[in-house]
C-alpha cells in the first residue's frame, strides 16, 4: 500500500511539473477588455484614445519568467479618439496610415532585471516595436501577473490559466514617421502608451 502511495505521489508530482512548463497564452480576449491607451499633448487639450483590437501570443513559464517570449499585435484601425475629425486624421496616411499599415507590433527580444514575488513578475522587456512600417528596439518596464486556474472564472466551462501584462512606455512619433512635420509646440513628439492585456492558456 505504501509503495502504491509513493508511486501515485511521484506521478502527481511529475504531472504537476509537466503542467508548470512553458504555456502559450492567447491575447485575443473573448471579453474584449484588453486595451492600449495612448496620450499625447496638444493645443487646447491632450489627445487621449485607446485601441482594443489586441491579439498575439506569449509563451510564459511560471517557473522561469525570464524566458518569456511572444508577440503582441494591435489592429491600427481599432485606435479610437472621441473627436471624429481627430480620428480621421489619426487614421490618415499622414499619421498612422491604417490602410497601408494595419498592425502595430511588439515582439519580445529579452527580459532584463526580472524580479518575481509570488505570482507577480516585474521586468524590463526589450523588444522590437513596429509602427507604420518602422521598427525600433525599445525597452519597456512591464508587470506580469500569473493567475493560475483563473480562466474558468472568466470563460465558463473552460479550465486554464491567465496572465495579465501591464506596461507603460513612451515613444517619439517622429521616430516612426508619424506626421513628422507637425509642429511640436502644437502636437507633442512624445506619445505615452499604456498596455493592459490579459491572455488565456486553456487546458483540456
Amino acid at each position: 500500500m505504501k509503495t502504491i502511495l509513493c508511486i501515485l505521489t511521484a506521478l502527481v508530482s511529475l504531472a504537476t511539473a509537466a503542467l508548470a512548463g512553458p504555456q502559450t497564452f492567447d491575447f485575443k480576449d473573448p471579453k474584449g477588455v484588453n486595451n492600449a491607451v495612448f496620450k499625447l499633448d496638444a493645443t487646447l487639450e491632450s489627445i487621449n484614445g485607446s485601441a482594443n483590437g489586441i491579439s498575439g501570443t506569449i509563451i510564459f513559464d511560471p517557473e522561469n519568467p525570464a524566458a518569456t517570449k511572444g508577440r503582441i499585435v494591435v489592429a491600427t484601425a481599432s485606435l479610437h479618439v472621441p473627436n471624429p475629425m481627430m480620428k480621421q486624421h489619426l487614421h490618415s496616411a499622414l499619421w498612422l496610415d491604417v490602410a497601408k499599415y494595419p498592425e502595430i507590433v511588439f515582439e519580445t527580444l529579452e527580459l532584463k532585471n526580472v524580479k518575481t514575488t509570488g505570482d507577480t513578475t516585474t521586468a524590463d522587456v526589450a523588444g522590437k516595436f513596429t509602427v507604420k512600417g518602422v521598427t525600433q528596439t525599445i525597452t519597456a518596464p512591464a508587470k506580469l501577473t500569473y493567475l493560475k486556474d483563473k480562466l474558468g472564472q472568466r470563460v465558463p466551462n473552460q479550465k486554464g490559466d491567465l496572465i495579465v501584462i501591464r506596461a507603460t512606455f513612451t515613444i517619439k512619433r517622429t521616430d516612426y514617421g508619424i506626421n513628422p512635420s507637425a509642429p511640436q509646440d502644437k502636437v507633442a513628439d512624445e506619445i505615452n502608451l499604456t498596455l493592459s492585456i490579459a491572455g488565456a492558456a486553456p487546458r483540456p
Partner: protein, 87 residues
C-alpha cells in the same frame, strides 16, 4: 428682414451657449463619443468602451457664435422699414 435676422442671430448664440453649458461646458474639442470604463474583476483590467454621446466643445461654441455674428452682420445690409406718412 433686418429684425428677423437679428433675432435669429441672438437665438443661435443663446442656444449654442445654453447647449454648451448644459452638456458640461467642455473646454476641449467636440466629441461624439465618451469613454465608459468597466472593471474586469478577475484580471483587474479596466475595459474601455465608447458610448455615442455628443459633447460640444469650444469649436462648436465658436462656430455657432461666428454664425450668429455673420447673421447679425448680414442684417446690417438691410434697411430698416420706414413708415411713410400719407398726409
Amino acid at each position: 428682414m433686418k429684425r428677423r435676422l437679428q433675432i435669429l442671430a441672438l437665438l443661435l448664440a443663446v442656444t449654442a451657449v445654453l447647449v454648451w453649458l448644459a452638456t458640461g461646458a467642455n473646454r476641449g474639442w467636440t466629441k461624439t463619443s465618451v469613454p465608459v470604463k468597466t472593471l474586469d474583476e478577475v484580471t483587474g483590467i479596466e475595459a474601455i468602451a465608447y458610448r455615442q454621446q455628443f459633447v460640444p466643445g469650444v469649436d462648436f461654441l465658436g462656430l455657432a457664435l461666428l454664425g450668429a455674428g455673420v447673421l447679425a452682420g448680414v442684417s446690417l445690409f438691410f434697411r430698416k422699414k420706414t413708415t411713410t406718412n400719407p398726409s
